[in-house]
C-alpha cells in the first residue's frame, strides 16, 4: 500500500510519520502531484495558519489535486479545517469539500475565568458514526486549536468545548479529524489503523 502525506508549509509531520511507523506503515512525504494522485491513501496534516497554508496550496495547484482525489483522504487538525468551505481565520476561502463553516472559539459572560483559547489537551469524542471510529466508543483525543468546524450534515464525531462542534467530518472519500490521532495514545492509533484499513 502506498500512503502519501501531503508536504506543505503547515507544521511538522514528524509525529504523524512516527505514529504510522508504529503501525508498520511506511509513508512518503511529498508535494509531487503525481505521487499524491496515485497513492492508495492520502493524509493531509497541518498545524499553522489557514490563509498562508491555502496560498501555498494554490500556488502549487495542490488545492485542485486534493479536491480531485478519489482514494480515502484524511485531513488532520488544520488539514481538516482547510477541507471546509471557509475559515474565519483571516477570512480564508478553503477547499470546499465540507460545507461546515470554521469559526473561532468565543467566550461569553457565562464562561468562568479559566476557560482558555486555544483548547489544549484531551477531550472526549462522542456520537461517533463512521468505520473510522470502529472500536472507539467515547474515546479521548488530544486537541490543540482555536478554530472549530460547526456541527452539520457531515459531522461524524462531536466534542464539547464552549459549545458542541465537529471533531470529525466525512463526505464520500474525504475524512477530517480536528484532534491529533498521532498523539492520542491507543485511541488515536486505532483511528489511524481504521483509516489505513478503509477500502
Amino acid at each position: 500500500m502506498k500512503l502519501a502525506i501531503v508536504k506543505y508549509n503547515a507544521g511538522n509531520i514528524q509525529s504523524v510519520l512516527f505514529a504510522l511507523e508504529r503501525l508498520n506503515i511506511r509513508a512518503i512525504v511529498t508535494d509531487d502531484t503525481n505521487e499524491i494522485s496515485t497513492a492508495d491513501k492520502v493524509i493531509f496534516p497541518g498545524v499553522g495558519e489557514a490563509s498562508t497554508a491555502m496560498q501555498y496550496l494554490r500556488e502549487r495547484k495542490l488545492d485542485q489535486v486534493i479536491t480531485a482525489l478519489k482514494q480515502p483522504v484524511l485531513g488532520v487538525c488544520l488539514g481538516m479545517q482547510l477541507m471546509c468551505a471557509h475559515s474565519e481565520e483571516n477570512d480564508t476561502n478553503c477547499l470546499n469539500i465540507f460545507d461546515e463553516p470554521v469559526r473561532r472559539f468565543h467566550l461569553n459572560k457565562t464562561h468562568s475565568a479559566g476557560v482558555k483559547i486555544p483548547q489544549i489537551g484531551w477531550n472526549k469524542i462522542y456520537n461517533v458514526q463512521s468505520p473510522l471510529f470502529e472500536g472507539v466508543d467515547q474515546g479521548y483525543c488530544y486537541f490543540v486549536h482555536s478554530y472549530y468546524a460547526s456541527l452539520g450534515e457531515h459531522t461524524i464525531a462531536t466534542t464539547d468545548y464552549i459549545q458542541p462542534y465537529s471533531s470529525a467530518l466525512h463526505k464520500d472519500n474525504f475524512y477530517g479529524v480536528q484532534f491529533h490521532p498521532e498523539k492520542s495514545a491507543e485511541t488515536g492509533a486505532r483511528i489511524l489503523e481504521n483509516f489505513i484499513n478503509l477500502v
Binding site: 476557560v115 482558555k116 486555544p118 477531550n123 498523539k183
Partner: protein, 273 residues
C-alpha cells in the same frame, strides 16, 4: 482547604467551567535527564532499564499520563546532539504529547528538536534574558509549541519573584508581570514551579497558580509540592490549574497515575480515564 464558603464558590466555579467543556485536567510526569539518562531516584519494577528515559516515558504513557516533560540538565558541549538523538528515540516510541526543556536558547535549537519529533519545547532563563526569543519562536513554530517555564519564589514581602538559572539567581521581576509579558510575546502555556513548595510534598502553591490561571488566556501547568492525591485535587479546584506536574512521587510509586486519576474522577474532576 479554604473556609467552607470559599470552598463552595470554587466548587460551583469548577462545575460552571466544566459545563461547556469536556476538556480534561492533565497529569504530567516530569523526567530529569542528564547525559541521556533519567536522574533522581527511580523505583520501578517491570522496567528493564530504569535509567532509560524512553522506557520510563513509555511506561507512564501506558499508565495514562496525559503528557510528558523531559528536562535536560546536562551541561556539556555534546549536549545538543545527545538531546536531539534522545528526542528522536522518544518520538518514535511515545504516543502522547511531550515537551522538551533545558538550555534551549535559540530558534535553531528548537528547530532541531521539533524536526526530531518534539511536540513542544520549554524555555526559561534564556527567554527572560532575551524576551524576543518568545516572539521569534511563536512566529517560527506557533504558540502551541512554546511553553514558558517560570521558577518563582514567594519572598517575605509576600510577592512572588522570578528566579533564573535553576533557582540560583533572583530577579526583581514579579512572576505575574513576566508571565503576562511572555504570553503577549507568544508563550502558549506556562509551566509554573514554586520554589517554596518544590520538594516539600506539602501541596502546590495554590495562590500564585490561581492568580496566573484565572487571569492569563493560556493554560497553566502547576509544578512543585504535589505529595498526596488531595494536593492534586486542590490545585485543580482552588488553584484552577489546567495541568499538574510531578516527578519523584511517580518515580517512587508513592502515587500511581491510574490511582490518582480514579481519585480525581470520583471527586468530579474531568480526567482522561
Amino acid at each position: 482547604m479554604m473556609d467552607p464558603v470559599g470552598d463552595i464558590t470554587i466548587r460551583e466555579e469548577l462545575e460552571a467551567s466544566q459545563l461547556h467543556s469536556g476538556l480534561c485536567k492533565r497529569i504530567v510526569p516530569c523526567l530529569d535527564i542528564k547525559d541521556g539518562r533519567t536522574v533522581k531516584g527511580i523505583n520501578f519494577e517491570n522496567i528493564r532499564d530504569a535509567g532509560d528515559p524512553v522506557e520510563l516515558g513509555a511506561l507512564y504513557a501506558q499508565q495514562g499520563a496525559d503528557e510528558l516533560v523531559f528536562l535536560d540538565i546536562t551541561a556539556t558541549v555534546e549536549k545538543r546532539k545527545t538531546l536531539s538523538e534522545l528526542v528522536n528515540r522518544i518520538a518514535h516510541k511515545i504516543n502522547i504529547p511531550f515537551t522538551v526543556g533545558g538550555g534551549i536558547s535559540s530558534v535553531e535549537d528548537v528547530s532541531v528538536l521539533l524536526q526530531n519529533g518534539a511536540d513542544k519545547i520549554s524555555v526559561n532563563t534564556a527567554a527572560f534574558r532575551n524576551p524576543q526569543l518568545l516572539n521569534d519562536l511563536a512566529r517560527s513554530f506557533g504558540s502551541q509549541c512554546v511553553v514558558l517555564a517560570i521558577d518563582t519564589k514567594k519572598e517575605e514581602d509576600g510577592h512572588w519573584y522570578v528566579y533564573l538559572n535553576g533557582g540560583r539567581v533572583k530577579t526583581e521581576t514579579l512572576c505575574t508581570d513576566w508571565a503576562r509579558e511572555a504570553v503577549e510575546r507568544g508563550a502558549g502555556e506556562i509551566l509554573l514551579t514554586s520554589m517554596n513548595n518544590d520538594g516539600t510534598k506539602k501541596g502546590f502553591a495554590l495562590d500564585i497558580t490561581r492568580e496566573l490561571s484565572t487571569t492569563l488566556p493560556v493554560p497553566v501547568i502547576a509544578s512543585g509540592g504535589g505529595g498526596t492525591m488531595d494536593h492534586f485535587m486542590d490545585v485543580f479546584t482552588e488553584g484552577s490549574a489546567d495541568a499538574a506536574l510531578a516527578a519523584s512521587i511517580f518515580h517512587f510509586k508513592e502515587i500511581t497515575i491510574p490511582d490518582l486519576k480514579g481519585y480525581l474522577h470520583q471527586r468530579g474532576i474531568n480526567v482522561r480515564l
